[in-house]
Symmetry: C2
Subunit: 172 residues, 2 copies
DNA sequence: GCCAGTTATGCAAACCTTTTGCAATTCAGG
DNA sequence: CCTGAATTGCAAAAGGTTTGCATAACTGGC
């Protein structure tokens, strides 16, 4: 599995780019290969994810779809399937709710996030620590197929401002 | 569950050392300071955690306590309190269940784990990537008070063996 | 030591996210 | 277009975690 060793997507988030039809074709191909069906809900979910630069919860996905178009259970099932098919990537922000992001063609979707602990704003982080560290850890303990999950948490500029104002107000 | 639970953890860490009475005194001091009470359940939980080198779930904690000594709800409440008091540290292995580890005196408990995705064996990892990366990320995006959560996942040596045997058997 | 007042606990019910059983529906290939 | 397999919706269940409330336990002051 490829990692994030020397990527340098500066700050650009390829996520906001448009990959017009590509998803559908890729979807079709990948699904067909596994004897899976191309259904309305599945297409709609991928379409929706394509427009979102950040991970979405299943509830958010449902809310983003046309009213009543898709049952929550179907979304859960779809996400499992899409994840297994590596069309989406699952992220865990530590709040007990899974989030999913579209994986773009040719990428493996491995990256991290910086999440505001106050307002839950999300910034995509494309850099990662050196691969050597992971390799060293794997080797030292004899583990294989080692991967990692990494997320950053902090307070975003806006919330810092808010906090500051709140303090001033209180001080008066 | 614990096929590989108590194996040689070669590079054992400070976590397996004994800090005899220290916890109690520290506990008492910290609790008193916050007008909290030193109760049986709370002491028992810390005692139990002191003997465990790896993070425990609330259920495991309850199971490790004398039969019927403590309600699950009490454990949940205790862990919240102990976490806020920085006597324990919460970890998230991505399986939707919180785990807690004792924080030893003078430490902040920040470290990571390497978890076997097959048998759930855990190895403590004391190293971390360079602080500079985190600082750079924080600065670039204007975030403050940035921290991170990082866990490694892979297949432990024993489970690699098991898988190998299974393959051979099948091949015959 | 004992009391009063506050903090904790146990128990049961509630909450949330996620999973699952099952009958009805939809899709793909012939 | 038809048929069988895959998928969906709905409702119920399963986990983990939280919460309301009456009862029990702890602490500081007498």
């Amino acid at each position: 599995m490829s990692k994030c060793s020397q990527r340098h997507h500066k700050h650009s988030h390829s996520h906001s780019c448009n990959h017009p039809q590509s998803d559908l074709s890729e979807l079709t191909a990948k699904l067909r290969k596994n004897a899976r069906k191309i259904t309305g809900p599945r297409q709609a979910i991928l379409d929706l994810l394509r427009q979102h630069p950040h991970p979405m919860t299943n509830k958010e996905i449902q809310a983003g779809l046309p009213e009543g178009m898709c049952d929550l259970a179907t979304i859960y099932r779809s996400m499992h399937m899409l994840e297994e098919m590596e069309l989406v990537k699952r992220f865990d922000f530590g709040d007990g709710t899974a989030r999913f992001e579209l994986v773009h063609e040719g990428e493996d979707g491995h990256h991290h996030h910086l999440i505001c602990t106050v307002c839950a704003d999300v910034v995509e982080i494309d850099e990662c620590f050196q691969q050597e560290l992971e390799d060293a850890i794997a080797k030292r303990h004899g583990y294989q197929a080692v991967t990692h999950k990494l997320e950053f948490f902090g307070v975003c500029p806006e919330c810092q401002e808010d906090a500051k104002k709140a303090r001033e107000k209180k001080g008066k």
